[in-house]
Symmetry: C2
């Protein structure tokens, strides 16, 4: 096989062979990462056949002048992202369209990464108070110890969308209202050297109280989407606890799940 003009190949595979990857060994960026980025870009731009094979790893490593483990590491990272699928005895394929974009762009992720980014956010309340029982439990601090409480109103297109109430250990961070409104809470934490590791979320729904209705421009009794979240440090220490209330008429959680093999 693999004579000059094999039809089954030419239909889908020329993409990869004609692609040239620019690997810079002097760069501090790891080789496997450079390769992964360029493969991802090729997939994103549709240069790489969606659904068809991606040439075997050995050839690829020879062609690129890399070792096979390095190539595998690059491919594996894209498999983990859900962009590629490997089949033993068959090959590596690009996953069919549709499953590409929203992998990292779910609104949940947005909330984590760039809370307060796109839309406007207004700080309604910002003070240090003694921790109530449930807040203390969520943050893993003593009841009555100082915590920062933060109430924010988020709007898009001039319309209220959500009421965000957050608690943080007071010792953790200095918060500046102006930066909070422009930069967002998670960005501020990140630039303060706090690396987020995981978060626990609970999503439910309930009817709006009269006050919530007034603040969110909904009728009393309207359906609201609620979310409670506790976010953890990479040491497992809780760094934030929040209760968010969204107008169901103007907000949905969109996200993508990857099923572990």
């Amino acid at each position: 096989m693999a004579k000059t003009g094999d039809r089954a190949r030419t239909a889908a595979a020329p993409a990869l062979s004609s692609l040239d990857f620019a690997l810079d060994r002097a760069s501090p960026v790891p080789l496997y990462y450079q390769l992964a980025q360029q493969l991802e870009a090729a997939i994103e731009h549709g240069v790489l056949a969606p659904g068809n094979l991606l040439g075997n790893e050995v050839d690829l490593s020879v062609r690129l002048g890399l070792s096979r483990p390095t190539v595998r590491q690059a491919i594996q990272s894209l498999v983990d992202k859900g962009l590629l699928v490997r089949r033993r005895g068959v090959g590596t394929q690009v996953v069919h369209s549709q499953v590409k974009r929203p992998l990292e762009l779910s609104s949940l992720y947005d909330d984590l990464e760039e809370a307060g980014q796109g839309p406007t956010t207004q700080v309604v309340r910002h003070e240090v108070v003694p921790a109530s029982c449930d807040v203390a439990a969520a943050l893993g601090v003593a009841e009555g110890s100082e915590v920062t409480v933060l109430d924010r109103l988020r709007c898009t297109h001039g319309q209220p969308v959500a009421l965000l109430c957050n608690y943080l250990p007071a010792s953790l961070l200095d918060l500046d209202d102006a930066r909070l409104e422009s930069t967002g809470l998670y960005r501020m934490m990140r630039s303060a050297g706090i690396t987020l590791h995981s978060a626990r979320q609970r999503v439910s729904a309930r009817a709006a109280t009269a006050e919530e209705g007034a603040r969110l421009d909904e009728e009393e009794g309207a359906a609201l989407l609620t979310m409670q979240r506790t976010a953890y440090d990479d040491t497992g220490r809780p760094v934030e606890y929040g209760t968010h209330i969204y107008r169901a008429s103007r907000y949905t959680f969109d996200f993508q799940l990857l099923v572990r093999p």
Copy 2:
């Protein structure tokens, strides 16, 4: 350093040195996986210090008679699960409690893996119909082509919890009501050779209609949690589209997010 009785070490590290891992080279289970499982078990049972170091990779590989990449692969898989954290120049630590269990046990994951498992599920409707416009779009089939529609009522403790409405390409699968009620949809798909790869979800809320209220034993206008999901094959082909409605008073989505490094 590392003299006989170093205090800083003895406080946390004896766990690992006294652990003996049983690696079976004859087993078809990969060595890295055997090691990962046993490390995970040690963490789960609290044998391994939460928050403290886990000895360096080189020593570990020598002690186990494995190569370092193999040991790294085991450790990496636990890092990906969020159980361990690596710090360059420092070491590998067990993440502090709290962030362990619910990683794979979120109710979202449950829904995916074992829909219809714990609680009882009753098939209310099960027929083949021509695809409506939105269903056809979600499943990537032609409008009017045959799809299986499935309405189920899920209960726990004798109380209704959710109305599940699902659509599948009719050609995909033979569904048996009895097995559906006992085994669950996703298990049936799996045993039919369909390997799930990813799913897209949209969660929101709205007020119950009179009919929904009657079926779910809620008042008309009560807040309901809604979820739409499209699940994809590992080729990216949509294999299921569903609309689920939950009683917010009896159901919440609980899940854990991991922040990619």
